[in-house]
Amino acid sequence: MTSADNLRAFRRDGRIVIVGASLAGLRAAESLRDEGFTGSLTMIGDELGEPYDRPPLSKQVLTGWVPAGGTTLPRRRDIDAEWLLGVPASGLDLATDHVRLADGCEVPFDRVLIATGVRARPWFVPSEAELDGVFVVRTREHAEGLQRALAAGPSRVLVIGAGFTGSEIASICRERNIPVTVAELAPYPLVGALGAMIGEVAAEMQRAHGVDLRCGVKVTRLEGDAQGRLRRAHFDDGSTVDADVAVVALGGIRNTEWLQGSGLAAGVWGVACDTGCRAMDLNGLITDDVFVAGDVARCPNPVYEYRLISLEHWANAVEQAEIAAHNMVNGQAERWPHLSIPRFWSIQFGVNIKSVGVPTFADEVVVTQGSVTDHRFVAAYGYQGRVTAAVTFNNAKWLDHYRRLIETAAPFPPPCPTPDQPLDTKPVPVDFPGPTLLAQGATVVVTGHDPGERRVTAAHQHHR
């Protein structure tokens, strides 16, 4: 049989198993059927119920508008799958091509997609994490519990960690007129993702909305009362805050433990793969039958010097799922690379924050349009004289322009003025560790509009 015959037979009656039944898993399944895959499709997920959307859990669910159980994802089409839900996968055997489930079942496959995502990082002291009133937010159950606690009118909420999720939750507390303290180890909110300049704006925004923001402090202990209810938090500067609700918003842990011993290059940063979403093994060899998509994938991006990047972004999950699905059922010559520029959004304190690119891949940042004090502006990030990212505050309609600047390795700072000229147009250091240890690779530009025609070519680097 030729490989084309093999592929045809596989598309007709092969077996595909998708591990992870959330956004990426569902979209991959739909795309596989769109691509004409008629074989058997098995969806494995550790949560019960249909795939649901998570971004609303820290937003419209916590305001009380939308019930936690009311974010089920719409379906683009029938997927005709067998669903194995409520039991997590516990192992992957690439010698015999089986997924092992925690209940001992074994599920055979010809090709498998890993889309197990991320879980919330719990509070580091288990007994304190068990206290009534201590929450994380990742699943609908988490969100439902926290929503109920907020509705009960707590005297104060403590949010531990001022990343995007923590800041969104603080914003909702203020919207519900609940006193809130935010504790952040870094000097500003959002600083790890967006740098000090934007972090300063975020800090000012939080304080203007009445958040008791404490930066540069660490929560050392959560103290409960005799009934096991949270009543106080202790900080490393000796101070305390009385609170009956604490939200631990310290980011996520990638669900890769089940892949230990599989031989794949899986670890705390996710599962390494190529731009075609094919998993890499520990030796750096690309596998043929194992694919990765979503939050758990760690994928190289040529625009960012081929660094392996893991992204907990909604659009990334959708795009990788579609690329992975396409490549699972197509031959070598028809494969697509995942080359899109990362996009992200957050809604907090009445402001739409959006980003394109990788803001941490930068050495300088400059406001290019609008007014920082009005919270209506665009900031561009640059690395070695080219644009690598942009962030907008209530200025999303311009963001696509900056995506193009990134894709074309346009010079930084952008040389031409716009009518909405900011007061200060001098680039400042981004103030987080830039990718200085990397070898100075070639800059590339991305061409093509559709997944099938997108490619990169090397370009001359701009020098200031």
Partner: protein
């Protein structure tokens, strides 16, 4: 990409004889996506380049950024936000939006729906006894005009007066000093002045006497951005009145014309009234009411595709051509209400996206839905119908239909 290989395609498009079917000329234009004209202006006609430039912050809507000022701008008063750049544009649009849509007034358009249906119903009732109707005069014009008058608080009985002003004004937009009589420009300038004086009188009356209409709300507003000056209110009202007159009428008329040219789709719409929703989107792509944004200015050098447009250049955006670009839309010259991913340029894109789009959509959906429901066998009496002069706001001046001709 920059050539002058077809210097006269644009002029053939602007010529009145092309009004019934400019689309083959648009296809010709698209061979050069960014085309420099003899006079140094640039014409952009392909989808991706249009979508790009509409999101480009270096594209200015302010006439003062043109190296060579436009003739029709002479003596132009305070511009409306459509001809402004951020941050002034954003501020004024936000202030007007406070009383028209979300986040401050989210229920206005849905709240108008019963009135819209009743108005259309009444106009169709008046067809009774007529064998022939004119879709323009009998429905597509009076309907949106009464809606915009009601919204703004402009007396409906003054319509014959401002109809003349609006006409002269629109005619002067595409004034060309080389080919047009000077009166065309002078009439436009005078009409603009008359219309502004008229609106100024209405604003004057509203101060301290807040009513429910937009003029009252603007004249007495105390929102977070403060209050518009009277000049700003007049410019805003002027813009909304003209847009309310000149765009939806084309959308409804082009819609009926397109349906009469596609009888099977018309029949389907009769059976599936919900089809009107995607159908209006397809109309906005296939026969949009606004064909051209006649000028924008390069605030600084702008790179589009492989072309650098120098600072100060005039840029003409051929929106209707972009929506027929085969590189973006499969089989673009086919009217297909089932089309998916219909990201047309019918209302523009970016910060200047049509202010009244949601209202225009509902007006067109309701008007076309009711026309199809209540006309048993309508038939076109002339195809192509006679067109209005403007290549910018393009649509039939009359659309005569036999009520039971089919």
């Amino acid at each position: 990409m920059t050539t002058t290989e077809m210097p006269d395609t644009l002029h053939r498009i602007l010529d009145y004889s092309s009004r019934p079917d400019p689309y083959p000329l648009y296809a010709e234009l698209r061979r050069t996506p960014v085309a420099r004209q003899e006079d140094g202006s640039y014409v952009i006609s392909t989808y991706r380049e249009l979508a790009d430039i509409l999101h480009n912050p270096h594209l200015s809507s302010d006439v003062r950024n043109l190296t060579h000022p436009m003739p029709s701008a002479e003596g132009a008063p305070t511009p409306a936000f459509i001809n402004m750049d951020p941050p002034q544009h954003d501020r004024l649009r936000r202030m007007a939006m406070r009383h028209f849509g979300p986040p401050n007034t989210p229920g206005l358009v849905t709240g108008l729906e019963p009135d819209l249906t009743a108005t259309v119903g009444g106009l169709i009732d008046d067809f009774a006894g007529k064998e022939q109707i004119d879709i323009v005069d009998d429905l597509a014009y009076p309907f949106p005009v009464s809606v915009i008058c009601h919204l703004l608080g402009v007396p409906r009985e003054d319509e014959p007066r401002f109809r003349v002003w609006v006409n002269d004004l629109i005619n002067s937009i595409d004034y060309d000093a080389r080919t047009d009589p000077k009166e065309k420009l002078e009439d436009g300038v005078r009409a603009r002045k008359d219309l502004r004086e008229y609106l100024g009188g209405l604003v004057e009356q509203r101060h301290g006497r807040p009513g429910e209409d937009l003029l009252s709300l603007l004249a007495n507003d105390d929102g977070p951005d403060g209050r518009m000056t009277d000049e700003e209110i007049i410019s805003t009202a002027n813009l909304l009145l003209i847009a309310g007159h000149e765009t939806t009428v084309n959308l409804i008329t082009n819609g009926m014309l397109t349906l009469l040219r596609h009888p099977r789709i018309l029949e389907r719409l009769r059976r599936e009234p919900d089809l009107v929703v995607p159908l209006v989107e397809e109309l906005l792509r296939y026969e949009p009411p606004v064909h051209i944004i006649p000028w924008r200015a390069a605030y600084s050098d702008i790179t589009v595709g492989d072309t650098v447009i120098p600072k100060g250049s005039q840029i003409m955006l051929m929106l209707a051509s972009g929506s027929r670009d085969p590189d973006r839309f499969h089989d673009p010259d086919r009217f297909d209400p089932d089309r998916t991913d219909n990201q047309h340029l019918g209302f523009g894109s970016g910060i200047h996206l049509c202010f009244g789009g949601p209202l225009a959509r509902r007006e067109a959906q309701i008007a076309l839905g009711e026309l199809v429901r209540r006309l048993d066998a309508p038939a076109l009496l002339a195809d192509p119908p006679p067109y209005r002069r403007s290549p910018v706001l393009r649509g039939p001046i009359h659309l005569r239909v036999e009520r039971n001709g089919g």
